[in-house]
Subunit: 351 residues, 2 copies
C-alpha cells in the first residue's frame, strides 16, 4: 500500500500527562495525543492505521483489511442495542468504511467474577445475530476472568478481517478540493440512548433508540455503484465533529460544513440541550461520513436514501483549500465558527 | 477449509453454572464447558477455531490465519517478561503453531484511570521490541479508559493475522496412531515466574525466568525443513497437560506420555512442590508440543535442538489407539495414571 493513513500531516503535540485520565479514552484531543505521542512513536510501521480505521495490508498477494476495537460501554444494554451488537457493528463498520468486504471477526471477553451467565448469554446471542445480519463469521475467541471489582460485568474486544476488492482506494488521502461531504442519517442517537439508559445518573428519559447498525451492505452498494467515492468514515467516539477534524488534519485541507443541514432528531436535540452536549460530538454507531467527487454527490445521495441505513442522508459540506487543517461550521443562526475538537468524549464509556 | 478444528468429537457436557467463576478463565474443564456450552452454540461457523488456535480462513484466494487473546496477567511485570511481551508472543505463537507465517498484530488496551503513563510506555515499548523480534508489525489499535476499580492497571488484547503457505496442513485432525510427541523445552517456567512476582501473596522467591518467547522463527524452520509435522500446540493456560488433553479429545485417539522424559528445571520443580502445583498444568509462553510422523521424530528433535528456542527439546510420548480421548502418563515412579484435566488454572491471571 502506498497510502499511509496513519501519517498525520498536521502533527498534534503530545501533552505528556503523567497519569491516564478518562479523557484519554474519549476520542478527543487527549486520546489523539496519546496515540501520536506514544503508540505511533513505538509501533512505527508503514501499515499502521489511524485508530478508527482498518489497516489495509498485503497478505499473500491480496489486500486484507484488519481492525480492532474494545468495548467497555456502560450499561451493557440500552435502547436499540447492547455491548454485543455494538462490538460486532463497530468492527464491521471500520472494515466496511475502509472499502473492505467484512468477512471474519474474533472476540475476546474479559468477564468479571460473579457475572450472571444469563447476561453473558444475552450478549453472545446478540453478537451472533448481528454477525449473521452483517454477513461475517465469528471464527476465533478468548475468555479471561478477573476478580470482582477488577472489571465491570464484561468487556469485549473484537478484531475483524476483510478483503479489499481490486481497484477500491478509499481514505482521507484521496480527498480533493471541491469534494462533497454527506452524512448517512441523523446524528447523536447512540450517545443519547446510552445516556438515557444511565437513568440513575441523570434522572432523564429520552425516547431515543441507538442507531447501531452494521453498514457493510450499504457500503457494498455504494462501492459497487461506481460512484466517485473518496473516503468513508464512521462516526463513533467523538461523533461527526471528530471525524470531520480527522479528515481536515490528515490532508491539511479544510472542510466547511453547514450545521443547518446536519439531521438531528428533536428528542436528541432536546436531550443534548438538557445535558449540555453538542450533538456534533455525540457518538453514533450506524452513521458515516461519505466524501464524494463533486459531480457524484447527487447520485451518491440517491443511492444512500434508497437504503434503509441511509434513508436520512444529507449533504452537509465541502472540502476546501482555505483554512487547511481546520473545520468551519455555519451554525444554526447562520454565523460561522471554527469547530474545536474537545479534550475527550463528552461522556465516557459510550462504546 | 475442510478440516474443522472446532469440532470436538468427544463433546464435554456444559455444567451450566449460573455465575462466572475464576475457573471459567483458567484453561481447564470449566472454561471448555463455557466454550462448548455457550460460545460454540451461538457462534456456529465451519471456520470456528478452538480457543487456543488460530482459525485458518479463505480470503481472496489465500489461506489467512486469524487469532486473538486478551491478557490480564497480574502483576504486569515479572522475571523474563511483562504483559506487553506476553501479548505479542501469545498471539504470534498461536499463529505460528497453526502453520502460518505471522504478519500483523492489532492491539486493544483497556486502561484504568490513574495508571502511570510510564507503566503504559514500558509495556508499549516491550510490545514494539517483541514484535520486531518476531517479525510482525503492529498495524491497528484501540484504547479505552475505565474508571478506577473497573480495571487493574491495564489489560491488552492482541489479534493476529498471518498467511499459511500452500501445502501446510497442521492440526489435531492430522494425528495418526504411532505419531511421536515432542516438547520444545523445559516446562512450567512462565507460571512459576509470575507466581514469584506475586511475592506479597506467597512470600516465596524462585529464581526462575519466564520462558516467554516468540516461536515464529523456530516453527518456520521446522515447516520449511519438510519434516513430517502433524500438529503444533503452544502450552499456555493449562500447560502441557491441557494441550495433551485437547489433542486426545479432538480425534478420540489416546496419548501416552512418560513424565520422566518431560524436562522440568529444579527450581521450577521446587517451587511447584512448595505451592502444591503440578508442573504438567503450569502455563508456558515459549514452549510447544510438536507431533511428528513416527519416522521423522529424530530429525525434528535434531532441528529443534539446534535452535535457541528448542535447545531443551525432548521426546515425551506417542499417539495410540487404546484409551481413545484420554491421556495416560507414566509417572516419576514408573506407575501409570490417567491425566485428569483440572477444573481451572491452578492459579488465575497467569496470562
Amino acid at each position: 500500500m502506498s497510502r499511509g493513513p496513519m501519517q498525520l500531516e498536521c502533527p498534534i503535540p503530545d501533552r505528556g500527562r503523567d497519569r491516564i485520565e478518562m479523557a484519554h479514552g474519549g476520542g478527543g484531543r487527549a486520546m489523539r495525543e496519546l496515540i501520536s505521542g506514544l503508540f505511533r512513536r513505538h509501533f512505527d510501521s508503514p501499515h499502521l492505521a489511524a485508530e478508527t480505521d482498518a489497516a489495509v495490508l498485503p497478505v499473500a498477494g491480496s489486500r486484507v483489511a484488519f481492525t480492532t476495537d474494545t468495548y467497555v460501554v456502560q450499561p451493557l444494554f440500552f435502547a436499540g442495542a447492547d455491548i454485543g451488537k455494538l462490538a460486532v457493528c463497530g468492527t464491521v463498520n471500520d472494515l466496511a468504511t475502509s472499502g473492505a468486504v467484512p468477512r471474519y471477526l474474533s472476540c475476546g471477553f474479559i468477564l468479571e467474577e460473579g457475572l450472571e451467565r444469563e447476561v453473558l448469554e444475552r450478549v453472545v446471542r446478540s453478537m451472533a445475530e448481528t454477525a449473521r445480519e452483517a454477513g461475517v463469521a465469528i471464527v476465533t475467541g478468548d475468555t479471561k476472568v478477573v476478580e470482582r471489582s477488577r472489571g465491570d460485568g464484561l468487556y469485549v474486544n473484537t478484531a475483524g478481517v476483510g478483503d479489499v476488492p481490486p481497484g477500491v482506494e478509499l481514505g482521507p488521502a484521496q480527498l480533493q478540493p471541491g469534494d462533497q461531504v454527506l452524512v448517512t442519517g441523523d446524528i447523536g442517537r447512540h450517545g443519547v440512548a446510552v445516556m438515557a439508559a444511565r437513568d440513575s445518573l441523570f434522572g432523564f428519559d429520552a425516547d431515543v433508540q441507538s442507531d447501531c447498525a452494521p453498514l457493510a451492505g450499504l457500503v457494498r452498494q455504494l462501492v459497487e455503484s461506481g460512484v466517485g467515492l473518496r473516503c468513508l468514515r464512521d462516526l463513533t467516539r467523538g461523533g461527526l465533529g471528530a471525524a470531520l477534524h480527522e479528515l481536515a488534519e490528515h490532508r491539511c485541507l479544510g472542510l466547511v460544513v453547514d450545521e443547518r443541514s446536519v439531521p438531528v432528531l428533536d428528542p436528541v436535540q432536546g436531550a443534548c440541550e438538557l445535558l449540555g452536549l453538542d450533538p456534533m460530538f455525540v457518538a453514533n454507531e450506524g452513521r458515516m461520513l461519505v466524501v464524494t467527487a463533486a459531480d457524484d454527490a447527487d447520485q451518491a445521495l440517491e443511492l444512500l436514501r434508497a437504503h434503509p441505513d441511509g434513508a436520512g442522508a444529507a449533504r452537509i459540506g465541502e472540502v476546501v483549500t482555505t483554512h487547511p487543517g481546520s473545520v468551519t461550521v455555519t451554525g444554526l443562526l447562520g454565523t460561522d465558527r471554527v469547530l474545536d475538537l474537545p479534550l475527550g468524549e463528552q461522556l465516557p464509556r459510550i462504546c
